[in-house]
Amino acid sequence: MKRPTQKSRQWHEIHARRLYRRRTARFRRHRRRRQDKQPRASRAFPFAISRRNQNLRPSHQGYTLDLPSDLSFTRNYHETAHALGLLRQFTSTPAYRLNSLNFNHIEDLAPTACLVLAAELDRWNESVRSRLRSQASQWNPLIAQLFYEMGLFDLLDKPPPSHCTDPNFAQRVFDQQFIRFSTGTTADGSLALALRENLESIVGRLDRQPLYEGVTEAMTNVMHHAYPEESDRKPLGGNTRWWLSGGFDRRTNSLTVSIYDQGVTIPKTLPYSNHWERILKYLSKLGLSNKSDANMIKAAMEVGRTSTGRSHQGKGLPQMRNFIDRADAGHVRIISRYGEYQYVKDAKSTRASLQTHEIPIRGTIIEWCIGIQDRSSIQDG
């Protein structure tokens, strides 16, 4: 065997270094991918927990999630749904650690989005055995006050910031009044009654029957349909739960009532329902071969409304429209997974519209909104 020459030794040195560098870089990439454990954030999976996600900031062996500046499904659906979806992803996946939720960027908010946020925080709090700590004293004081009035701190059983003492702050400053968040695991008519009484203390007499019908049917639907036995998703804590809130905005004279559940969503439960064949027939009759989530919600609303016999269940969803039909103007909006169905009534006509979003809601939101013109625009009967 020949002795290595100086030239060959230099050649080997250079290539060994290159080989070492290449192997080390490959190892680092592999390690980063294993740490991420998820594909890149993409349309297929928008809630990937990764440093590439713009709402997430690494902090203390975990992440901080920034809430958007406008927390509203109407004005800022994409960012709001994205942030709330990420929050759910953290609470559902023990492998990831969410250190904190940053409220400091919030400048505007809407009641329905706040309800969903409250529900996700309630879920997070339950998942960590009520060890969630509030640093609300560091929030924007106006935002902290609004959340205090909505009942967020009571819902989570946390003390409010010391400066939150005025229960009518939102009315004085923003011309809005809120009904505090409530939650339950049964179709509790007494809570629907309390909601109506609280709303009437703000806006005057309301048409109580359709409001009661819609709210209690929504609660009952959560019990029966949100977590079908065939689905592998089970409710956190073992109880099917809903969250309910309401509010009145004097700037637009609009009354809003919202109810939210964290179930498997309407489009996913329909294949397990007694109406599934009729829904498929309805979709094909309308020439809708695309079984998008929005089309599925519309079909569920229409099939339940027009069905005669054949099944004693599934008549509750169409009742959601009754409160709007009895009002002078308003809308009911149902958002479930990627689909949104809106039924709008104005002075001239009623119409239904559909929308498909890029970011899903991981549950079902039902929002009623009616215009209160002169506080007596809603008549009984």
């Binding site: 509790d188 008519g189 109580r208 019908e213 009952t220 029966h224 008549k315 009984d380």
Partner: protein, 113 residues
């Protein structure tokens, strides 16, 4: 002699009925049917007063009245003779129509009745 019974849902049961089964809540359709409606129908003519409550979801009405056909073997014709729905508040008229609609639809679902 045929016994006549009046059931006032607001007075005798609840002002906030909701839900279908006992798991849904305390004042549900199945409970109302089995505790009040069926015993009264088995002993004679029944008048059900439906006004005064907050409202009725379709689940409650369907289980309470449609369930008479499905679960308790009452036929629609027999219920037409035994059951009367009353109210003073005209805003509750749609509920009377719904009650008979649920009974008819339950009969369609159960052709043997």
């Amino acid at each position: 002699m045929v016994k006549s019974t009046e059931i006032d849902i607001m007075r005798d049961y609840s002002s906030t009925p909701a839900g279908r089964f006992p798991a849904d809540g305390p004042y549900n359709g199945q409970d109302f049917r089995e505790k009040l409606l069926v015993p009264a129908l088995q002993s004679g003519v029944v008048t059900v007063r439906i006004d005064g409550v907050e409202g009725y979801g379709s689940s409650f009405l369907e289980e309470a009245f449609g369930g008479l056909v499905r679960n308790n073997s009452f036929s629609e014709s027999r219920l037409r003779k035994l059951l009367t729905v009353e109210y003073d508040d005209s805003s509750f008229r749609p509920y009377e129509n719904l009650i008979w609609k649920h009974i008819s639809e339950a009969t369609i679902d159960s052709p043997s009745r």
